[in-house]
Protein backbone atom coordinates (compact mmCIF):
# COMPACT_ATOMS: atom_id res chain seq x y z
CA UNK A 1 0.00 0.00 0.00
CA UNK A 2 1.42 3.36 -0.94
CA UNK A 3 0.82 6.56 0.98
CA UNK A 4 -1.99 7.76 -1.26
CA UNK A 5 -3.87 4.49 -0.74
CA UNK A 6 -3.49 4.86 3.00
CA UNK A 7 -4.70 8.44 2.76
CA UNK A 8 -7.74 7.28 0.81
CA UNK A 9 -8.51 4.75 3.54
CA UNK A 10 -8.15 7.45 6.20
CA UNK A 11 -10.56 9.64 4.27
CA UNK A 12 -13.10 6.83 4.01
CA UNK A 13 -12.70 5.95 7.69
CA UNK A 14 -13.23 9.58 8.66
CA UNK A 15 -16.39 9.66 6.56
CA UNK A 16 -17.61 6.50 8.28
CA UNK A 17 -17.07 8.22 11.63
CA UNK A 18 -19.11 11.18 10.40
CA UNK A 19 -21.81 8.65 9.44
CA UNK A 20 -21.73 7.03 12.86
CA UNK A 21 -22.13 10.39 14.59
CA UNK A 22 -24.89 11.36 12.15
CA UNK A 23 -26.77 8.10 12.74
CA UNK A 24 -26.56 8.07 16.53
CA UNK A 25 -27.51 11.78 16.67
CA UNK A 26 -30.66 11.17 14.63
CA UNK A 27 -31.43 8.01 16.59
CA UNK A 28 -30.97 9.88 19.87
CA UNK A 29 -29.36 6.63 21.05
CA UNK A 30 -26.71 4.13 20.04
CA UNK A 31 -23.05 3.46 20.70
CA UNK A 32 -20.63 6.07 19.36
CA UNK A 33 -17.55 5.02 21.38
CA UNK A 34 -17.06 1.54 19.95
CA UNK A 35 -18.29 2.61 16.52
CA UNK A 36 -15.45 5.10 16.34
CA UNK A 37 -12.82 2.65 17.64
CA UNK A 38 -13.77 0.05 15.01
CA UNK A 39 -14.19 2.44 12.05
CA UNK A 40 -10.70 1.89 10.62
CA UNK A 41 -11.13 -1.89 10.82
CA UNK A 42 -14.49 -1.79 9.00
CA UNK A 43 -13.00 0.51 6.37
CA UNK A 44 -10.04 -1.72 5.65
CA UNK A 45 -12.15 -4.87 5.62
CA UNK A 46 -14.73 -3.57 3.15
CA UNK A 47 -12.36 -1.59 0.91
CA UNK A 48 -9.34 -3.89 0.82
CA UNK A 49 -10.02 -7.28 2.27
CA UNK A 50 -13.51 -8.68 1.75
CA UNK A 51 -14.55 -10.14 -1.56
CA UNK A 52 -18.14 -8.86 -1.61
CA UNK A 53 -20.47 -7.46 -4.24
CA UNK A 54 -22.85 -4.64 -3.18
CA UNK A 55 -25.03 -5.40 -6.22
CA UNK A 56 -25.37 -9.00 -5.10
CA UNK A 57 -25.20 -9.01 -1.29
CA UNK A 58 -26.27 -12.67 -1.07
CA UNK A 59 -23.61 -13.90 -3.51
CA UNK A 60 -22.83 -17.44 -2.35
CA UNK A 61 -19.07 -17.23 -2.71
CA UNK A 62 -18.60 -13.89 -0.94
CA UNK A 63 -16.41 -13.47 2.08
CA UNK A 64 -18.47 -13.11 5.24
CA UNK A 65 -18.22 -10.57 8.02
CA UNK A 66 -19.96 -11.08 11.34
CA UNK A 67 -20.04 -8.09 13.68
CA UNK A 68 -20.14 -9.99 16.94
CA UNK A 69 -19.97 -6.68 18.85
CA UNK A 70 -23.22 -5.76 17.13
CA UNK A 71 -23.77 -2.49 19.00
CA UNK A 72 -20.98 -0.89 16.97
CA UNK A 73 -23.04 -1.09 13.78
CA UNK A 74 -23.41 2.68 13.20
CA UNK A 75 -19.97 2.95 11.58
CA UNK A 76 -20.40 -0.41 9.85
CA UNK A 77 -23.63 0.89 8.34
CA UNK A 78 -21.78 4.01 7.17
CA UNK A 79 -19.15 1.85 5.44
CA UNK A 80 -21.83 -0.35 3.85
CA UNK A 81 -23.59 2.79 2.59
CA UNK A 82 -20.36 4.14 1.11
CA UNK A 83 -19.80 0.79 -0.58
CA UNK A 84 -23.24 1.08 -2.18
CA UNK A 85 -25.22 -1.56 -0.30
CA UNK A 86 -27.81 1.18 0.42
CA UNK A 87 -28.14 4.97 0.41
CA UNK A 88 -26.15 7.15 2.79
CA UNK A 89 -29.39 8.93 3.71
CA UNK A 90 -30.60 5.75 5.40
CA UNK A 91 -28.18 6.56 8.23
CA UNK A 92 -30.53 9.26 9.48
CA UNK A 93 -33.20 6.58 9.98
CA UNK A 94 -30.99 4.49 12.27
CA UNK A 95 -33.07 2.94 15.07
CA UNK A 96 -36.28 4.52 13.79
CA UNK A 97 -39.52 2.54 13.43
CA UNK A 98 -39.57 0.77 10.09
CA UNK A 99 -35.89 1.43 9.36
CA UNK A 100 -33.69 -1.08 7.56
CA UNK A 101 -31.01 -0.04 10.07
CA UNK A 102 -31.79 -1.68 13.39
CA UNK A 103 -30.09 -0.85 16.67
CA UNK A 104 -28.19 -4.10 16.27
CA UNK A 105 -27.41 -5.78 12.91
CA UNK A 106 -30.27 -7.64 11.21
CA UNK A 107 -29.35 -9.87 8.28
CA UNK A 108 -32.92 -9.88 7.00
CA UNK A 109 -33.36 -6.11 6.96
CA UNK A 110 -30.01 -4.68 5.96
CA UNK A 111 -28.27 -5.49 2.66
CA UNK A 112 -24.65 -6.42 3.32
CA UNK A 113 -25.20 -7.68 6.86
CA UNK A 114 -24.27 -11.37 6.93
CA UNK A 115 -25.52 -12.28 10.40
CA UNK A 116 -27.96 -10.93 12.95
CA UNK A 117 -25.99 -10.11 16.07
CA UNK A 118 -26.11 -7.97 19.15
CA UNK A 119 -26.23 -10.38 22.04
CA UNK A 120 -22.54 -10.48 22.91
CA UNK A 121 -20.53 -13.64 22.42
CA UNK A 122 -22.80 -15.17 19.80
CA UNK A 123 -21.40 -13.86 16.52
CA UNK A 124 -18.15 -15.72 16.84
CA UNK A 125 -20.00 -19.07 16.91
CA UNK A 126 -22.00 -18.13 13.82
CA UNK A 127 -18.76 -17.17 12.09
CA UNK A 128 -17.39 -20.63 12.96
CA UNK A 129 -20.48 -22.19 11.35
CA UNK A 130 -19.94 -20.18 8.18
CA UNK A 131 -16.26 -21.09 8.04
CA UNK A 132 -17.11 -24.76 8.55
CA UNK A 133 -19.73 -24.57 5.79
CA UNK A 134 -17.04 -23.21 3.42
CA UNK A 135 -14.80 -26.15 4.30
CA UNK A 136 -17.59 -28.66 3.73
CA UNK A 137 -18.46 -27.13 0.36
CA UNK A 138 -14.78 -26.83 -0.58
CA UNK A 139 -15.24 -23.12 -1.18
CA UNK A 140 -12.47 -20.66 -0.61
CA UNK A 141 -14.41 -17.79 0.90
CA UNK A 142 -13.12 -16.51 4.20
CA UNK A 143 -15.00 -15.48 7.33
CA UNK A 144 -14.15 -12.52 9.54
CA UNK A 145 -15.63 -11.54 12.85
CA UNK A 146 -15.04 -8.58 15.15
CA UNK A 147 -15.42 -8.84 18.91
CA UNK A 148 -15.13 -6.27 21.64
CA UNK A 149 -12.58 -6.73 24.40
CA UNK A 150 -15.38 -6.62 26.96
CA UNK A 151 -17.20 -9.23 24.88
CA UNK A 152 -14.49 -11.84 25.39
CA UNK A 153 -15.72 -12.10 28.97
CA UNK A 154 -18.61 -14.18 27.56
CA UNK A 155 -17.97 -17.91 27.98
CA UNK A 156 -19.40 -18.69 24.56
CA UNK A 157 -16.44 -16.92 22.94
CA UNK A 158 -14.13 -19.55 24.37
CA UNK A 159 -16.42 -22.43 23.47
CA UNK A 160 -16.24 -21.08 19.93
CA UNK A 161 -12.47 -20.63 20.13
CA UNK A 162 -12.08 -24.30 21.06
CA UNK A 163 -14.37 -25.30 18.22
CA UNK A 164 -12.51 -23.16 15.68
CA UNK A 165 -9.11 -24.64 16.39
CA UNK A 166 -10.43 -28.18 16.88
CA UNK A 167 -11.93 -27.98 13.39
CA UNK A 168 -8.84 -26.33 11.88
CA UNK A 169 -10.77 -23.30 10.67
CA UNK A 170 -7.90 -21.50 8.96
CA UNK A 171 -10.45 -19.58 6.91
CA UNK A 172 -11.62 -17.80 10.08
CA UNK A 173 -10.18 -14.53 11.36
CA UNK A 174 -11.29 -13.37 14.81
CA UNK A 175 -10.50 -9.71 15.37
CA UNK A 176 -10.77 -8.04 18.76
CA UNK A 177 -11.36 -4.31 19.02
CA UNK A 178 -9.34 -3.68 22.16
CA UNK A 179 -10.43 -0.21 23.12
CA UNK A 180 -10.00 -1.08 26.76
CA UNK A 181 -13.38 0.18 27.95
CA UNK A 182 -16.74 -1.39 28.69
CA UNK A 183 -19.95 -0.03 30.20
CA UNK A 184 -18.98 -0.34 33.84
CA UNK A 185 -15.42 0.94 33.46
CA UNK A 186 -12.09 -0.18 32.07
CA UNK A 187 -11.89 -3.80 30.98
CA UNK A 188 -8.97 -4.23 33.37
CA UNK A 189 -11.03 -3.01 36.32
CA UNK A 190 -14.24 -4.84 35.47
CA UNK A 191 -13.01 -8.31 34.63
CA UNK A 192 -9.38 -8.61 33.61
CA UNK A 193 -9.08 -10.48 30.34
CA UNK A 194 -5.33 -10.35 29.96
CA UNK A 195 -3.14 -11.93 28.79
CA UNK A 196 -5.52 -12.12 25.83
CA UNK A 197 -2.83 -13.07 23.31
CA UNK A 198 -1.74 -16.01 25.44
CA UNK A 199 -5.36 -17.06 25.91
CA UNK A 200 -5.97 -17.22 22.17
CA UNK A 201 -2.61 -18.96 21.66
CA UNK A 202 -3.55 -21.52 24.28
CA UNK A 203 -6.82 -22.09 22.42
CA UNK A 204 -4.86 -22.91 19.27
CA UNK A 205 -4.91 -19.61 17.39
CA UNK A 206 -2.21 -17.84 15.45
CA UNK A 207 -2.15 -14.45 17.15
CA UNK A 208 -1.17 -11.02 15.87
CA UNK A 209 -1.17 -7.84 17.95
CA UNK A 210 -1.55 -4.60 16.07
CA UNK A 211 -2.53 -0.96 16.29
CA UNK A 212 -6.12 -1.06 15.07
CA UNK A 213 -5.87 2.45 13.63
CA UNK A 214 -2.75 1.78 11.54
CA UNK A 215 -3.77 0.58 8.07
CA UNK A 216 -0.36 -0.86 7.29
CA UNK A 217 -0.47 -2.99 10.41
CA UNK A 218 -4.05 -4.05 9.67
CA UNK A 219 -3.04 -5.06 6.15
CA UNK A 220 0.06 -6.86 7.34
CA UNK A 221 -1.86 -8.95 9.89
CA UNK A 222 -4.70 -9.81 7.51
CA UNK A 223 -2.22 -10.75 4.76
CA UNK A 224 -0.31 -12.99 7.15
CA UNK A 225 -3.59 -14.57 8.32
CA UNK A 226 -4.12 -15.84 4.78
CA UNK A 227 -0.89 -17.81 4.95
CA UNK A 228 -1.77 -19.49 8.25
CA UNK A 229 -2.71 -23.11 7.62
CA UNK A 230 -4.57 -25.54 9.83
CA UNK A 231 -5.61 -23.12 12.53
CA UNK A 232 -7.65 -19.95 12.98
CA UNK A 233 -6.17 -16.50 13.40
CA UNK A 234 -6.84 -13.93 16.09
CA UNK A 235 -5.88 -10.31 15.52
CA UNK A 236 -5.84 -8.22 18.68
CA UNK A 237 -6.31 -4.62 17.61
CA UNK A 238 -5.36 -1.98 20.13
CA UNK A 239 -7.71 0.94 19.58
CA UNK A 240 -8.95 4.16 21.15
CA UNK A 241 -12.61 4.21 22.11
CA UNK A 242 -14.22 7.30 20.62
CA UNK A 243 -11.32 7.70 18.16
CA UNK A 244 -11.48 10.87 16.09
CA UNK A 245 -13.71 12.95 18.33
CA UNK A 246 -11.59 14.63 20.99
CA UNK A 247 -14.16 14.75 23.75
CA UNK A 248 -15.22 11.13 23.22
CA UNK A 249 -11.74 9.56 23.16
CA UNK A 250 -11.07 7.13 26.00
CA UNK A 251 -14.26 8.14 27.80
CA UNK A 252 -16.29 5.32 29.35
CA UNK A 253 -19.37 7.56 29.28
CA UNK A 254 -19.48 7.57 25.48
CA UNK A 255 -20.11 3.83 25.24
CA UNK A 256 -23.84 4.00 24.75
CA UNK A 257 -24.91 7.64 24.72
CA UNK A 258 -25.84 9.64 21.64
CA UNK A 259 -24.50 13.14 21.07
CA UNK A 260 -26.95 15.98 21.63
CA UNK A 261 -27.25 18.71 18.98
CA UNK A 262 -24.35 20.73 20.29
CA UNK A 263 -22.12 17.68 20.68
CA UNK A 264 -23.18 16.43 17.25
CA UNK A 265 -22.16 19.71 15.65
CA UNK A 266 -18.90 19.83 17.56
CA UNK A 267 -18.01 16.22 16.70
CA UNK A 268 -18.96 16.63 13.07
CA UNK A 269 -16.94 19.83 12.78
CA UNK A 270 -13.89 18.07 14.20
CA UNK A 271 -14.26 15.16 11.79
CA UNK A 272 -14.97 17.47 8.83
CA UNK A 273 -11.78 19.37 9.65
CA UNK A 274 -9.82 16.10 9.68
CA UNK A 275 -11.40 15.20 6.36
CA UNK A 276 -10.57 18.54 4.83
CA UNK A 277 -6.97 18.23 5.98
CA UNK A 278 -6.68 14.72 4.53
CA UNK A 279 -8.27 15.73 1.24
CA UNK A 280 -6.02 18.79 1.07
CA UNK A 281 -3.02 16.52 1.34
CA UNK A 282 -4.14 14.43 -1.62
Amino acid sequence: MDSSEIKQLRILATKSRIGAILGTFHAKSGHPGGSLSAADLFTYLYYKELNVDPRNPQWEDRDRFVLSKGHCCPSLYAVLAMKGFFDWDELTNLRHVGSMLQGHPDMNKTPGVDMSTGSLGQGVSSACGMALAAKLDRKDYRVYTLLGDGEVEEGQVWEAAMFASHNNLDNLVVMVDQNGLQIDGTVDDVAGIEPLDKKFEAFGFEVFKIDGHDFEQIKDALDKAKTVKGKPTAILCRTVKGKGVSFMENQVGWHGVAPNKEQFELATAELEAQLKKLEGEC
Binding site: E60, M107, G118, A127, G129, D137, M162
Partner: protein, 315 residues
Amino acid sequence: MAEIIKKATRESFGEALCEFAETNKDVVVFDADLAAATKTSIFQKAFPDRFFDCGIAEENMIGVAAGMAASGKIPVAASFAMFATGRAFEQIRNSVAYPCLNVKIAGSHAGISTGEDGATHQCIEDIGIMRAIPNMMVLNPADHWEMKAATKAALEYDGPVYIRLGRLAIDSFNDPETYEFELGKGITLHEGNDVAVIATGLVVNEAIKAVKELEAEGISARLINIHTIKPIDRDIIIKAAKETGRIITVEEHNVIGGLADAVSEVVTAECPVKISRIGVQDCFGYSGPAWELLDLFGLTQPHIARVIREVVNEK
Protein backbone atom coordinates in the same frame (compact mmCIF):
# COMPACT_ATOMS: atom_id res chain seq x y z
CA MET B 1 -53.82 -53.92 13.35
CA ALA B 2 -50.29 -52.87 12.60
CA GLU B 3 -47.33 -54.51 14.22
CA ILE B 4 -46.30 -52.81 17.48
CA ILE B 5 -42.77 -51.46 17.45
CA LYS B 6 -41.28 -50.76 20.85
CA LYS B 7 -38.77 -48.01 20.39
CA ALA B 8 -37.69 -44.72 21.94
CA THR B 9 -38.54 -41.73 19.74
CA ARG B 10 -34.90 -40.58 19.93
CA GLU B 11 -34.00 -43.70 18.00
CA SER B 12 -36.75 -43.16 15.43
CA PHE B 13 -35.41 -39.63 15.04
CA GLY B 14 -31.85 -40.86 14.43
CA GLU B 15 -33.09 -43.28 11.78
CA ALA B 16 -35.20 -40.63 10.06
CA LEU B 17 -32.27 -38.23 9.96
CA CYS B 18 -30.21 -40.83 8.12
CA GLU B 19 -32.97 -41.62 5.65
CA PHE B 20 -33.43 -37.97 4.78
CA ALA B 21 -29.70 -37.30 4.55
CA GLU B 22 -29.28 -40.08 2.00
CA THR B 23 -30.78 -37.87 -0.67
CA ASN B 24 -30.20 -34.43 0.84
CA LYS B 25 -26.52 -33.58 1.04
CA ASP B 26 -27.12 -30.29 2.88
CA VAL B 27 -28.09 -31.95 6.15
CA VAL B 28 -25.39 -31.59 8.81
CA VAL B 29 -25.70 -32.77 12.39
CA PHE B 30 -24.23 -31.37 15.58
CA ASP B 31 -24.23 -32.86 19.02
CA ALA B 32 -22.81 -31.82 22.38
CA ASP B 33 -21.16 -35.01 23.63
CA LEU B 34 -24.43 -36.90 23.81
CA ALA B 35 -24.54 -38.53 20.39
CA ALA B 36 -24.92 -42.01 21.85
CA ALA B 37 -27.86 -40.82 23.94
CA THR B 38 -29.66 -38.55 21.48
CA LYS B 39 -29.08 -41.18 18.76
CA THR B 40 -27.44 -38.77 16.38
CA SER B 41 -24.77 -41.47 16.62
CA ILE B 42 -26.79 -43.31 13.97
CA PHE B 43 -26.21 -40.39 11.62
CA GLN B 44 -22.60 -40.05 12.74
CA LYS B 45 -21.92 -43.64 11.74
CA ALA B 46 -23.56 -43.25 8.34
CA PHE B 47 -22.26 -39.77 7.49
CA PRO B 48 -19.11 -39.09 9.52
CA ASP B 49 -18.13 -36.17 7.27
CA ARG B 50 -21.35 -34.35 8.03
CA PHE B 51 -21.37 -34.92 11.77
CA PHE B 52 -19.68 -32.58 14.24
CA ASP B 53 -19.36 -33.16 17.93
CA CYS B 54 -19.15 -29.74 19.56
CA GLY B 55 -18.23 -31.10 22.96
CA ILE B 56 -20.08 -30.05 26.08
CA ALA B 57 -20.70 -26.55 24.76
CA GLU B 58 -24.35 -26.15 23.78
CA GLU B 59 -24.29 -22.37 23.36
CA ASN B 60 -21.57 -22.56 20.73
CA MET B 61 -23.27 -25.54 19.08
CA ILE B 62 -26.42 -23.52 18.44
CA GLY B 63 -24.40 -20.58 17.14
CA VAL B 64 -22.40 -22.77 14.78
CA ALA B 65 -25.63 -24.30 13.52
CA ALA B 66 -26.97 -20.78 12.89
CA GLY B 67 -23.89 -19.88 10.87
CA MET B 68 -24.25 -23.10 8.89
CA ALA B 69 -27.87 -22.32 8.11
CA ALA B 70 -26.89 -18.80 7.04
CA SER B 71 -24.57 -20.52 4.55
CA GLY B 72 -27.27 -22.72 3.04
CA LYS B 73 -26.94 -25.91 5.09
CA ILE B 74 -29.72 -27.69 6.99
CA PRO B 75 -28.19 -28.08 10.43
CA VAL B 76 -29.65 -30.26 13.16
CA ALA B 77 -28.37 -29.57 16.69
CA ALA B 78 -29.12 -32.18 19.32
CA SER B 79 -28.67 -32.44 23.05
CA PHE B 80 -30.81 -33.25 26.06
CA ALA B 81 -33.91 -31.05 26.09
CA MET B 82 -32.67 -29.52 29.32
CA PHE B 83 -29.42 -28.23 27.85
CA ALA B 84 -30.58 -27.54 24.31
CA THR B 85 -33.50 -25.34 25.36
CA GLY B 86 -32.24 -24.30 28.78
CA ARG B 87 -28.53 -23.63 28.52
CA ALA B 88 -28.75 -22.41 24.95
CA PHE B 89 -32.09 -20.61 25.16
CA GLU B 90 -30.74 -17.22 24.31
CA GLN B 91 -28.61 -18.48 21.42
CA ILE B 92 -31.72 -20.15 20.01
CA ARG B 93 -33.71 -16.98 20.52
CA ASN B 94 -31.21 -14.49 19.10
CA SER B 95 -29.04 -16.42 16.64
CA VAL B 96 -31.66 -18.84 15.26
CA ALA B 97 -35.24 -17.69 15.74
CA TYR B 98 -34.80 -13.94 15.34
CA PRO B 99 -33.05 -14.26 11.95
CA CYS B 100 -35.44 -17.16 11.20
CA LEU B 101 -32.63 -19.49 10.22
CA ASN B 102 -33.23 -23.04 9.06
CA VAL B 103 -31.96 -24.82 12.17
CA LYS B 104 -33.59 -27.91 13.69
CA ILE B 105 -33.11 -28.29 17.42
CA ALA B 106 -33.66 -31.74 18.88
CA GLY B 107 -34.19 -32.06 22.62
CA SER B 108 -33.86 -35.61 23.85
CA HIS B 109 -34.50 -37.08 27.30
CA ALA B 110 -37.42 -34.73 27.72
CA GLY B 111 -39.85 -35.10 30.60
CA ILE B 112 -39.74 -37.14 33.77
CA SER B 113 -39.42 -40.43 31.85
CA THR B 114 -35.72 -39.61 31.66
CA GLY B 115 -35.92 -41.49 34.94
CA GLU B 116 -32.99 -42.30 37.18
CA ASP B 117 -30.90 -39.22 36.32
CA GLY B 118 -33.36 -37.18 38.33
CA ALA B 119 -34.67 -33.63 38.27
CA THR B 120 -31.58 -31.88 36.85
CA HIS B 121 -31.97 -33.87 33.64
CA GLN B 122 -35.76 -34.18 33.46
CA CYS B 123 -36.79 -31.19 31.39
CA ILE B 124 -40.41 -30.24 32.00
CA GLU B 125 -40.18 -26.70 30.63
CA ASP B 126 -38.81 -27.12 27.10
CA ILE B 127 -42.14 -26.84 25.26
CA GLY B 128 -43.02 -23.69 27.18
CA ILE B 129 -39.62 -22.13 26.55
CA MET B 130 -39.60 -22.90 22.84
CA ARG B 131 -43.26 -22.04 22.33
CA ALA B 132 -42.68 -18.54 23.67
CA ILE B 133 -40.13 -17.71 20.96
CA PRO B 134 -41.48 -16.08 17.77
CA ASN B 135 -40.78 -17.98 14.51
CA MET B 136 -40.25 -21.27 16.37
CA MET B 137 -42.22 -24.37 15.41
CA VAL B 138 -42.61 -26.94 18.21
CA LEU B 139 -43.10 -30.67 17.56
CA ASN B 140 -43.73 -33.45 20.08
CA PRO B 141 -44.30 -36.74 18.24
CA ALA B 142 -45.91 -39.64 20.08
CA ASP B 143 -44.57 -42.87 18.59
CA HIS B 144 -42.03 -44.36 16.21
CA TRP B 145 -43.99 -43.69 13.03
CA GLU B 146 -44.98 -40.20 14.00
CA MET B 147 -41.43 -39.29 14.92
CA LYS B 148 -40.12 -40.53 11.59
CA ALA B 149 -42.72 -38.54 9.68
CA ALA B 150 -42.27 -35.45 11.85
CA THR B 151 -38.49 -35.49 11.46
CA LYS B 152 -38.82 -35.67 7.69
CA ALA B 153 -41.39 -32.87 7.67
CA ALA B 154 -39.21 -30.71 9.92
CA LEU B 155 -36.25 -31.16 7.59
CA GLU B 156 -38.36 -30.29 4.56
CA TYR B 157 -39.76 -27.18 6.27
CA ASP B 158 -37.67 -24.02 5.88
CA GLY B 159 -37.37 -22.38 9.29
CA PRO B 160 -36.51 -23.01 12.94
CA VAL B 161 -38.05 -26.11 14.53
CA TYR B 162 -37.79 -27.61 18.00
CA ILE B 163 -38.49 -31.33 18.14
CA ARG B 164 -38.89 -33.19 21.42
CA LEU B 165 -37.44 -36.70 21.77
CA GLY B 166 -37.99 -39.24 24.52
CA ARG B 167 -35.54 -41.62 26.16
CA LEU B 168 -38.00 -44.35 27.06
CA ALA B 169 -38.82 -47.16 24.62
CA ILE B 170 -42.57 -47.02 24.01
CA ASP B 171 -45.05 -49.00 21.93
CA SER B 172 -46.08 -47.63 18.57
CA PHE B 173 -49.81 -47.18 17.99
CA ASN B 174 -49.92 -45.73 14.49
CA ASP B 175 -50.26 -47.87 11.39
CA PRO B 176 -47.61 -46.90 8.82
CA GLU B 177 -49.94 -48.02 6.03
CA THR B 178 -52.57 -45.44 6.85
CA TYR B 179 -50.75 -42.85 8.96
CA GLU B 180 -50.62 -39.31 7.56
CA PHE B 181 -48.58 -36.52 9.10
CA GLU B 182 -49.14 -32.86 8.41
CA LEU B 183 -47.36 -30.06 10.27
CA GLY B 184 -49.83 -28.12 12.39
CA LYS B 185 -52.66 -30.66 12.10
CA GLY B 186 -53.96 -32.57 15.10
CA ILE B 187 -55.16 -36.14 14.68
CA THR B 188 -58.39 -37.53 16.07
CA LEU B 189 -57.54 -41.01 17.33
CA HIS B 190 -60.91 -41.83 18.84
CA GLU B 191 -64.35 -40.31 18.30
CA GLY B 192 -66.57 -39.38 21.21
CA ASN B 193 -68.73 -36.58 22.56
CA ASP B 194 -68.77 -36.88 26.37
CA VAL B 195 -65.37 -35.23 26.79
CA ALA B 196 -62.34 -34.37 24.65
CA VAL B 197 -58.95 -35.67 25.75
CA ILE B 198 -56.14 -33.77 24.07
CA ALA B 199 -52.77 -35.43 24.51
CA THR B 200 -49.23 -34.99 23.22
CA GLY B 201 -46.03 -37.02 23.04
CA LEU B 202 -45.12 -40.08 25.01
CA VAL B 203 -48.37 -40.17 27.02
CA VAL B 204 -50.69 -40.34 23.98
CA ASN B 205 -50.58 -44.13 24.05
CA GLU B 206 -51.58 -44.13 27.72
CA ALA B 207 -54.52 -41.88 26.82
CA ILE B 208 -55.53 -44.29 24.05
CA LYS B 209 -55.62 -47.15 26.53
CA ALA B 210 -57.61 -45.07 29.01
CA VAL B 211 -60.18 -44.03 26.42
CA LYS B 212 -60.64 -47.64 25.29
CA GLU B 213 -61.02 -48.80 28.89
CA LEU B 214 -63.79 -46.25 29.39
CA GLU B 215 -65.53 -47.14 26.17
CA ALA B 216 -66.33 -50.49 27.76
CA GLU B 217 -67.96 -48.56 30.62
CA GLY B 218 -70.11 -46.60 28.21
CA ILE B 219 -68.10 -43.36 28.35
CA SER B 220 -67.54 -41.82 24.94
CA ALA B 221 -64.34 -39.81 25.04
CA ARG B 222 -62.86 -38.11 22.01
CA LEU B 223 -59.07 -38.40 21.81
CA ILE B 224 -56.94 -35.93 19.90
CA ASN B 225 -53.20 -36.25 19.39
CA ILE B 226 -51.42 -32.91 19.07
CA HIS B 227 -47.97 -33.54 17.58
CA THR B 228 -47.47 -29.90 16.55
CA ILE B 229 -47.76 -27.73 19.63
CA LYS B 230 -46.92 -24.62 17.67
CA PRO B 231 -48.57 -23.63 15.42
CA ILE B 232 -51.39 -25.48 17.14
CA ASP B 233 -54.41 -26.85 15.27
CA ARG B 234 -57.01 -24.32 16.41
CA ASP B 235 -59.86 -25.82 14.40
CA ILE B 236 -59.68 -29.30 15.90
CA ILE B 237 -59.58 -27.81 19.42
CA ILE B 238 -62.49 -25.39 18.87
CA LYS B 239 -64.57 -28.17 17.32
CA ALA B 240 -63.82 -30.43 20.29
CA ALA B 241 -64.73 -27.69 22.77
CA LYS B 242 -68.02 -27.00 21.02
CA GLU B 243 -69.03 -30.61 20.55
CA THR B 244 -67.98 -32.02 23.94
CA GLY B 245 -68.08 -28.99 26.24
CA ARG B 246 -65.24 -30.35 28.35
CA ILE B 247 -61.50 -30.82 27.75
CA ILE B 248 -58.76 -32.77 29.48
CA THR B 249 -55.14 -32.18 28.43
CA VAL B 250 -52.45 -34.81 28.94
CA GLU B 251 -48.74 -34.07 28.70
CA GLU B 252 -45.40 -35.10 30.16
CA HIS B 253 -44.49 -31.47 30.82
CA ASN B 254 -45.22 -28.83 33.39
CA VAL B 255 -48.89 -27.84 33.17
CA ILE B 256 -47.56 -24.28 32.94
CA GLY B 257 -46.34 -23.35 29.47
CA GLY B 258 -47.02 -26.58 27.61
CA LEU B 259 -50.00 -28.21 25.91
CA ALA B 260 -52.46 -27.22 28.64
CA ASP B 261 -51.69 -23.56 28.14
CA ALA B 262 -51.59 -23.85 24.36
CA VAL B 263 -55.08 -25.41 24.36
CA SER B 264 -56.34 -22.90 26.93
CA GLU B 265 -55.19 -20.01 24.79
CA VAL B 266 -57.37 -21.25 21.93
CA VAL B 267 -60.36 -22.25 24.02
CA THR B 268 -60.55 -19.09 26.14
CA ALA B 269 -60.49 -16.95 23.02
CA GLU B 270 -62.92 -18.97 20.94
CA CYS B 271 -65.16 -21.24 23.01
CA PRO B 272 -64.57 -21.22 26.78
CA VAL B 273 -65.01 -24.62 28.41
CA LYS B 274 -63.51 -26.12 31.56
CA ILE B 275 -60.10 -27.74 31.09
CA SER B 276 -58.57 -30.33 33.42
CA ARG B 277 -54.80 -30.46 33.18
CA ILE B 278 -53.02 -33.78 33.52
CA GLY B 279 -49.27 -33.21 33.59
CA VAL B 280 -46.46 -32.32 35.93
CA GLN B 281 -48.14 -30.07 38.49
CA ASP B 282 -45.50 -27.34 38.67
CA CYS B 283 -43.01 -29.36 40.66
CA PHE B 284 -39.65 -30.97 39.97
CA GLY B 285 -39.21 -34.66 39.33
CA TYR B 286 -36.85 -37.03 41.09
CA SER B 287 -34.87 -40.21 40.46
CA GLY B 288 -36.60 -43.48 39.75
CA PRO B 289 -37.48 -45.91 36.97
CA ALA B 290 -39.40 -44.15 34.18
CA TRP B 291 -42.67 -46.07 34.44
CA GLU B 292 -42.76 -45.74 38.21
CA LEU B 293 -42.34 -41.98 37.84
CA LEU B 294 -44.97 -41.69 35.12
CA ASP B 295 -47.35 -43.56 37.41
CA LEU B 296 -46.49 -41.41 40.44
CA PHE B 297 -47.04 -38.26 38.40
CA GLY B 298 -50.45 -39.51 37.25
CA LEU B 299 -49.53 -39.90 33.60
CA THR B 300 -50.46 -43.55 33.06
CA GLN B 301 -53.65 -45.25 31.88
CA PRO B 302 -55.40 -45.74 35.27
CA HIS B 303 -54.86 -42.13 36.33
CA ILE B 304 -55.97 -40.71 33.00
CA ALA B 305 -59.03 -42.99 33.08
CA ARG B 306 -59.86 -41.83 36.61
CA VAL B 307 -59.76 -38.16 35.60
CA ILE B 308 -61.94 -38.81 32.54
CA ARG B 309 -64.46 -40.66 34.69
CA GLU B 310 -64.55 -37.83 37.24
CA VAL B 311 -65.00 -35.21 34.56
CA VAL B 312 -67.80 -37.06 32.80
CA ASN B 313 -69.62 -37.76 36.08
CA GLU B 314 -69.30 -34.09 36.99
CA LYS B 315 -70.93 -32.92 33.74
